[in-house]
Subunit: 327 residues, 2 copies
């Protein structure tokens, strides 16, 4: 079932006072770097360090009272894991989270700290959905999907609503919105919100090199997959193909899929550190990276908003990005 | 002339839509570290990377039309420099900023990038006020003082107003507020705001070891000075004595002056990076550091807000803080 704008409005009501109302940030230095006016939505400041808390809480809070004691099960490389664990903890619901064994240690430790039981799997040889289904069946628990769920998409769409609200308050007309895209729940939610609230704004997805399934799917009109074995530092965005539900939305509402390299991402992380004093994880910086690295003058002299979607990065990886970019 | 709460309300009207409405952030991990419920006001997200833009814009925007062409002069270790330069640029007023030659390069470069002329001086052998007075006299320009000015204090006080507004919206009763204190304009502004809006909240100043002039002044009841030659990484807070105007306010409205070491500060910078995804400069993290390092159980089981006042730190200094804290 495809979510509607009414579902996003309903999610905004559920989340009011529970999520951080992240501001829009701007720096003249980044505007110069981007060649356009650039507004940054810093969702690393969100509870649990990423936007994922929005969709997770919106979904978990709707589980029927008589099913709550059986708990929730989620699978995630880390941000949806933390978002679901924190949402479940707030609602006093047990949570099991299936995470890849090579996920950043910080994300695994935080998920446990939010009270969840963590089950690790091998990203290359096991299928996380199967593991989660088995656990859910065994415990009669509810699966909280990372993106292919109308409630999750609606929750993420509240990011888009806030961007539009702030732009209206500031008297800004947005030409473009660029959104990090893994399973593309955030992209789909924001695209739905903009379709109603700011239909003239072009929406772009942003993906890492080697994981540009949505960019290619937007061109072909059908869900394309990534070549197995590709690597990227953007651990939050390493998925084989677009979500079914999310692509159904994005196919119609997203203009173009942008792509950035790991180098672009590290430079963007350093620029966001230096100019806006915010900590981006690699996947969280992909949309900013795509704008800074764009050589097609897509955004030249326009007004663009970019979602920085998360900040759950180990100190060592962050320092590497700063050091490389200083050279 | 001592500012009043009405001056802060007036400043809030002037600054509306021009300043970033920074949110209140919270992390269960930091609450555990602090032993209390801790709300962080992240003013590194403010325009120019620190709260200083608030007081500077409130002051510069009130300069009479016929005096604007002569420009403004400010002296500052860097954050008031950038705040004043950016405010003057927005208002099309020329700016000269007197800065110590050993100020962080980032702060000097940014001040120039905001269109200001920078004059460097030797922090140990020259008196910055004298240099600024001479330039102002020569050009018939207006001096924008960093803290001993009612308009500056009123502008900084808008930080306090926002904290109280957000706490009311969240249903939170604040027991304590801790504010970084150099010349103590931010402390004085926030103390004034809280005196009217939340009079039961105890207000604390926070200073680096070796620069605890306000802490000692609060005990003795008169303005005490620091021993010359002390060193600290908190470049924003290295002043010889409390401001005259600001101490007049703080003597009555601030409970106790807290002190933290450079080590405490670096650990706090690392914790704020890891748990809230924000970049603090050393001086900006002093209030958080003082709460985390407090061994007197001042805040135990209480609800405290802490202002993180700025994030203008070089990448190398930031990496040092992360590396030391990882050991």
């Amino acid at each position: 079932m495809t979510p509607t704008f009414a579902d996003i409005e309903d999610a905004a009501r559920v989340l009011k006072g529970l999520v951080v109302r992240t501001p829009l940030l701007e720096s003249p230095f980044l505007n110069e770097l981007a060649g356009c006016r650039l507004l940054i939505k810093p969702e690393m400041l969100q509870k649990t360090g990423s936007f994922k808390f929005r969709g997770a809480y919106n979904t978990v809070s709707r589980i029927a009272k008589d099913r709550r004691a059986n708990g929730v099960v989620a699978y995630s490389s880390g941000n949806h894991a933390q978002g679901t664990a924190a949402a479940a903890q707030l609602l006093n619901i047990p949570a099991v989270i299936v995470m890849p064994a090579d996920a950043p240690k910080l994300k695994i430790a935080n998920t446990k700290a939010y009270g969840a039981e963590v089950v690790l799997y091998d990203r290359d040889n096991e299928i996380r959905e199967d593991i989660a289904e088995a656990i859910a069946k065994d415990r009669n628990a509810t699966i909280v999907r990372p993106y292919d769920d109308p409630c999750v998409v609606a929750g993420q769409g509240t990011v888009g609503v806030e961007i539009v609200e702030d732009c209206i308050a500031l008297g800004i007309k947005l030409d473009a919105l660029v959104v990090p895209c893994g399973g593309c729940g955030l992209t789909a939610g924001c695209a739905l919100a903009f379709h109603t609230l700011s239909p003239k704004t072009q929406v772009y997805s942003a993906e890492p090199e080697g994981f540009d399934d949505t960019a290619r799917s937007l061109v072909s009109g059908q869900r394309e997959t990534n070549t197995p074995g590709a690597k990227s530092i953007c651990d939050a965005l390493l998925l084989p193909a677009p979500g079914a539900l999310t692509f159904e939305i994005n196919r119609d509402l997203v203009s173009v899929g942008l792509v950035a390299s790991d180098d672009d991402v590290q430079r963007a992380m350093a620029a966001l550190f230096l100019r806006l004093k915010i900590v981006s994880e690699p996947g969280g910086a992909i949309a900013a990276a795509a704008v800074f690295a764009d050589d097609k003058e897509t955004f030249k002299d326009k007004v663009a908003a970019v979602v920085c979607s998360g900040g759950n990065v180990d100190s060592a990886a962050f320092q590497t990005a700063l050091s490389i970019s200083n050279q």
